[in-house]
Point group: C2
Chain length 375, copies 2
């Protein structure tokens, strides 16, 4: 079924809403932990749900290579394969393929690339991406787009965006038509491209809106642009996005980036930062990021964050976490991941509460003030 969206409250440009899918309802603004290979690294599904995750992201590129869509389809889809009964979003695979650089060839048809796993040639067209995402049976699938490099000239960004719009139309036709009379298991989101050029962004949106997408994403950000460039795109583009549909900012990001984007009307986020940072010993706290590997933590009997009530902070000291990290213990990666995901989930809860209470400006100033002090 196509996801449906309703806005429950607004505060300036920010919105609190409900996104309903076949596998459950997602409160927005929402953060989606990334489950690259059919697992959010180090976590069980029950732990993720317990932390408040209502939707997670699966990577089509990675799952296409390992274990392959046939094996996941034989399980009845990604939900059952990974034992995650709640909503799932899959990306198109395009972002990772474009990141391969030397190993890929792009044409109007799509992309061909050498698998970094076993060297075989793999084709990814808009139709291929839809077929994989349909096999995964995700609740939200993403159109395949041509990922604009950064920096790009206006001409480069235009050509890339225009190809993305042709691929978006092919994605839409295949996703909603592949099953014949049978409706797809979820809905397909379109992706606005156009690089850092606002007129191209608006042209991209206009092209997309010829088709009935249940949600729209902003792609091509979090690619190395400055904060000013990113916010300029959001401020110029988001007011033109349909208010009745969810808005997903792909690949963003740091807590302060999420707050800035929510203030400008974004509803959905994904990023590997909380999970990857955790495995590298970087932990988010109410007063900024700490590195648990720092020798100052060696004999610290206190928790990572005295203001945090996550499982890790309730039961384990900084000294213990540093010890686990030094010994490369799996439990260290687990406890750090629990802490960081809890931080992100609490951030989203606080944002939703502040929007509902009409106090988002005040809350954000306070939050960004504390976090920026620590840079």
């Amino acid at each position: 079924m196509n996801p449906t969206f309703s806005v429950r409250a607004t505060d300036g440009a920010a919105r609190v809403g409900s996104l309903t899918t076949a596998h459950g309802v997602i409160d927005t603004p929402a953060f989606m932990p990334v489950g690259t290979y059919g697992t959010v690294k180090a976590m069980t599904p029950e732990e993720l749900a317990g932390l408040g995750a209502q939707i997670i992201l699966g990577n089509t590129f990675h799952l296409l290579l390992r274990p392959g869509p046939e094996i996941i389809a034989a399980h009845g889809g990604l939900h059952r394969f990974m034992h995650w009964p709640h909503p799932l979003l899959t990306d198109s695979g395009g972002f990772q393929v474009f990141s391969l650089r030397s190993l890929r060839r792009i044409s109007e048809e799509g992309v061909r690339f050498r698998s970094p796993v076993d060297g075989r040639e793999v084709r990814l067209t808009p139709e291929d991406s839809m077929d994989v995402q349909l096999a995964l049976r995700s609740d939200i699938a993403m159109a395949l787009d041509d990922c604009t490099p950064h920096p790009a000239t206006e001409a480069e960004a235009r050509a890339s965006m225009e190809r993305s719009m042709r691929w978006a139309a092919r994605s839409h036709a295949h996703y909603y038509g592949a099953g014949g009379a049978a409706p797809p298991p979820g809905g397909l989101f379109g992706i606005v491209q156009g690089g850092m050029y606002l007129p191209l962004r608006l042209a991209s949106l206009e092209a997309l809106l010829r088709l009935p997408w249940p949600g729209l994403a902003v792609g091509g950000l979090a690619v190395g642009e400055s904060e000013e460039e990113r916010l300029a795109v959001l401020e110029g583009l988001v007011p033109h996005l349909p208010a009745d549909r969810p808005r997903y900012l792909m690949g963003v990001g740091r807590p302060e980036d999420i707050v800035a984007a929510v203030l400008r009307g974004i509803d959905m986020f994904d990023c590997v930062m909380p999970t990857r940072h955790a495995r590298n010993g970087h932990l988010f706290t109410s007063t900024g990021v700490i590195n648990i590997r720092n020798s100052a933590n060696a004999a610290d009997l206190g928790p990572v964050d005295a203001a945090c009530d996550c499982y890790t902070c309730r039961h384990f000291s900084r000294a213990y976490l540093r010890h686990l990290d030094r010994c490369n213990e799996i439990l260290g990666a687990r406890l750090n991941t629990i802490h960081n995901l809890h931080f992100y989930m609490e951030l989203m809860r606080a944002l939703r509460a502040a929007i509902a209470a009409g106090t988002l400006q005040e809350w954000s100033r306070s939050f960004l003030g504390v976090q920026n002090c620590q840079r």
Copy 2:
């Protein structure tokens, strides 16, 4: 407090008992998962307890090197450091030090060795080992022994055993005397040595029994001897061990080895096998060990063991576990560890039930028949 032991039922030489410590009661025969660096690899304390683990083992050698006893003592001991409120046994550190071979020098005083972590020289005398174990505040500590190499001549085994007995007396005096009037937090077990020579084993036992140990261990097995040699030592020695005290066979072992030793009157076991095997993809099942990495599992939608009701088998397919293993995902190590520890805990439950019911011979024949078929 010294642990206390009571036998509730016997079946031949096998016994079902209760071992009571300051942190709780352990049903015997018991298997102790190994928590080398203050964590049973990949598991939280709650998961271990949920699997039925009533006692785990901490490694004095590893914790001495990282993070060091001072940091653990500052937390109030190993229980609090690692958030494990249940019984803990610590080994003496001797076994690992003796395994260093080229990096260690042994004298009557004790052992000096180069830390494999940072190269500094470390001393481990019986008194040092007791000081570390007292700092860890384990419920059961182990005397430091001179680990007899295998194979060893009778003269070598005798000299090593006699040194172990002198070290055992020094361990006992220091453990129970170090606190002055204050009693130690747990109790100290003596270790019978003597290699594969039964007369030396009996002489070792006689020497140990001059002191009031709350439990006795059989050391120097699981060192590369044949099954026949090991069983000959157990059959010759165990009938002479005091019936009113727990008997701990150190470092053993495979499920079939545990069954054979329980049949001969052993009460306690530890081994890294279930956890290490799990991380290497070797999984115990009711019909023998399987290797999840085998390509036959690539598209297998069934569980590891249809007869198993562990979390892993209830929710995940062999294909998913193989996929996680291939992608080196932390969740794979977790799910495999849960399964293997569940297998060991169920084995111990079944052994206790069979002893209590007086059906151990029958149960063991059936169990060993199935497991041996798979070799």
